[in-house]
Amino acid sequence: MRPIPPEATEVGGSDPLDANLAPTLPPRLPWFAPLVRARVALGLAPLTAPAVIFVPVGYLLGPALLNVLSPAILSHLGPLVAVSLAALGVFVGLALDLRARDERPLLVAASVEAIATVGVVALATGFLFAQWRLELDLAAPFVAIALGVCASASSATAPAGDAPTHQRAAMRIADLDDVLPILLGGILLAAMQADDWGLALKLTGLTIVVGLGIALAGWLLFERAHEAGERGVFVLGALMLLGGTAAYLELSPLFIGLVAGLYWSYSPGGADQVIRTEVRRFQHPLVVLLLLATGASLSFSTLTAWLLVPYIAFRLAGKLLGGWLATKVAPGLTPTDLGAWLVPPGLLGLAFALNFAQLTSPATGAAVLSAVALGTLISEVAGAIVLPSPEGR
């Protein structure tokens, strides 16, 4: 296996999740570096691919094996999981600052790539569902689109200081391709709660309005807090309110977080900086919690097996097609460049699958989550192999 670049991150290159937490490596013990990253991932510093460690640990602790994370405890952790998802959405929103001119074509390219992946995975799995006549306790198009949304997220990496321009652009596309799937996921979850498209649109609108309202309240308060402790309370309260509102209305916490993050990113003043600084204190415990909850919620069935192989295969096909299409939109990139960076699925696919599983029927939701989690672990390993090594740059 090729060495994984030390700057590799889970959610996105220089986005706020990891940018300020470079791992400290012992200078004379390079072989020790991965262990250090694994240790410090317990809330102390970033990890290359935390899903590879914490999802299996969660499964070990979950109801299927040790039952330390029993169904009752998982149910208590539900609100915290929603808050973690909202925090992830906020990070994606904060990273989506398109005021720089060269960012906009990259967002378009990332969106094209994401739509292609969602389309390939959703259409192909939908076709297979019809051919196989699988008995699902949920409408097949919803399951197919959910798999497509989970498949479209990519784990970007922070470019090194001397990284060539095309590599930086590839990483940024991998970073930005989370945006459209979060929006699609938000609409999908709203549609699942509604009886008709009118109500679905109304719920989507409600998500946006409430997200903007909470963001506005936060913007009014963050920089006017009298002391650091109070500022921390406001930030924590805003994240809780974002995640809690989504959980209460059974909507997408990722989407509501994205809306708030976007608002803070574009609003005047330093609200975005306050959020970045404050959330850094508990971001890793939240990510670890999310992954442990994912692992503990896994439940393998025949349906999981039916979903897994098509998910991995169509995701890869979708990413390659998406990467090729993206190179047409963002000149200067080659499909090879982009394809390699798009393979590792990252955290957001898992996050969306967990959210989907929480809000839908237990059997199908668990099967989708388990297939996505297994697919993520396999793709992470594959991604580590195909990622360009530091020597090769």
């Binding site: 609100p79 006017r224 402790g229 309370v233 309260g237 994240l239 959980a247």
Partner: protein, 440 residues
């Protein structure tokens, strides 16, 4: 003005979201209620400070106004879910109080403190037992009971009415960043009184069982239970405090998270093994502060970061959980009993100050800090209600309405006492004095 706008906005969002879900269909409302409480209660606390009331009153009033009996933004289910955090809050508050107590300065006053508590509780009992006996036929508890059973019920009721709230006392001190001799006196007093209350309540319950023809010959069991309650709790807390001190010394990272985890352990293990979590957490704090004092600012910062949100949620939850229907039903009786209790406290502190040698200036203020009642009283009332539902349930309702009243009035009075003692903000002043002067 900006904060007022944010306050209105958050409440408006809360109202819209809360009423977007049909009644009875709500699920997973905990994080929503927590977020709402954290932002809006913080702002309510600040507004209350502007009108010279303690912040905790603002938190309580927020909970009351947004709770199930009034605006219903925090539903009954949410209020119940929020109470899951009470154990953590109580443990954290007691731990913070332990961290503020310097045993070396308190040791010289221990004799006079014991004297003071003994006289105070004695006077209160002597005052309240005959009063309750006399008005028993008019109390909505068990008016037809006479003789020894009535005396036993009166003894239990007196123990409940006499009880104080170490949690609220410590919370008001922590929230006011108060420090000084009066604050230390109050913490020591309510803790000693809490210990005495556990003993008195256990004996009174045994008296009731005997008078109503229940179990006999369980004296050994009572002693063992008392020893377990008191000594076991202190030892358990001390052990965890020592482990935490070692963590601070040798690891010292993510202190806020570890501090909160410690409080969860103190609370949950306490519940599992029947320890008094207040005593255990206080003991843990005492060990950290007096035996293994940590170097640096990590613990202080962790306490400041961890305590504030927990305190806000604790009091907002208390406000949202106030049973206004109980207060409305027997409010007048509760009000009269509350006045009698306040009179007994005032008389008790007056006599105790004269006989114990406590600083007269502080002695005059002590009664204002003893009015609050909360979790301990409610917990004991629940025990009575579960064991003797026939008369225990009406007694519990009466006690709940008393607690409701004392929750609202108590913190205001105690904060006023801290202001008069000149100790509000004392912790910050002490910290500033302890910092080395800048070079040059």
């Amino acid at each position: 003005m900006t904060r007022l706008a944010a306050f209105g906005l958050v409440l408006g969002i809360g109202y819209v979201v809360r009423h977007a879900v049909p009644a009875g269909a709500e699920a997973q409302g905990l994080a929503f209620a927590l977020g709402l409480a954290l932002i809006a209660a913080t702002l309510a606390g600040e507004m209350s400070e502007k009108v010279r009331l303690p912040r905790v009153t603002g938190y309580l009033l927020f909970g009351l106004a947004c709770g199930p009996y009034l605006a219903n933004i925090i539903s009954r289910t949410m209020a119940r879910e929020l109470q899951v955090l009470n154990g953590l809050a109580v443990a954290l508050i007691a731990l913070v109080a332990g961290l503020e107590i310097d045993l070396s300065t308190l040791r010289s006053r221990l004799k006079s403190l014991l004297n003071y508590s003994g006289v105070l509780l004695g006077v209160m009992y002597v005052g309240l037992v005959p009063l309750l006996w006399a008005i028993w036929p008019w109390l909505p508890v068990a008016p037809d009971v006479h003789g020894v059973p009535r005396l036993a019920m009166v003894a239990v009721s007196a123990a409940l009415i006499t009880s104080f709230s170490p949690t609220v006392t410590m919370a008001v001190i922590a929230e006011s960043r108060a420090a000084g001799r009066f604050s230390e006196l109050m913490v020591a007093l309510v803790v000693l009184a809490d210990l005495a209350l556990i003993v008195a309540f256990t004996l009174a319950m045994q008296f009731v069982r005997w008078s109503l023809g229940g179990s006999e010959g369980e004296e050994v069991g009572i002693i063992v239970r008392l020893a377990w309650d008191v000594v076991g709790s202190l030892a358990f807390g001390a052990l965890l405090g020592a482990v935490f001190a070692l963590y601070l010394r040798f690891v010292g990272r993510e202190v806020t998270l570890v501090l909160l985890a410690l409080c969860v352990i103190l609370s949950e293990a306490g519940r599992h093994f029947h320890f008094e979590s207040v005593l255990a957490a206080l003991s843990a704090g005492l060990v950290v502060q007096n035996i293994a004092q940590p170097q640096g600012e990590a613990l202080r910062e962790a306490v400041e970061r961890g305590a504030l949100p927990v305190l806000i949620v604790f009091f907002a939850t208390a406000g949202a959980s106030l049973q206004l229907d109980a207060l409305a039903a027997i409010g007048l009786v509760a009000l009269l009993l509350s006045a009698a209790r306040a009179g007994a406290i005032w008389l008790g502190t007056h006599v105790a100050t004269r006989s114990s040698g406590i600083d007269a200036e502080h002695g005059r203020l002590v009664w204002m800090g003893l009015i609050p009642q909360a979790g301990v009283t409610l917990g004991l009332a629940v025990i009575v209600a579960n064991e003797f539902p026939e008369w225990g349930r009406p007694l519990e309702t009466l006690i709940v309405s008393l607690i409701g009243f004392h929750q609202l009035v108590g913190p205001v009075l105690f904060r006023q006492a801290l202001v008069r003692a000149g100790e509000v903000g004392g912790a910050d002043r002490q910290h500033a004095e302890a910092q080395p002067a800048p070079a040059g």
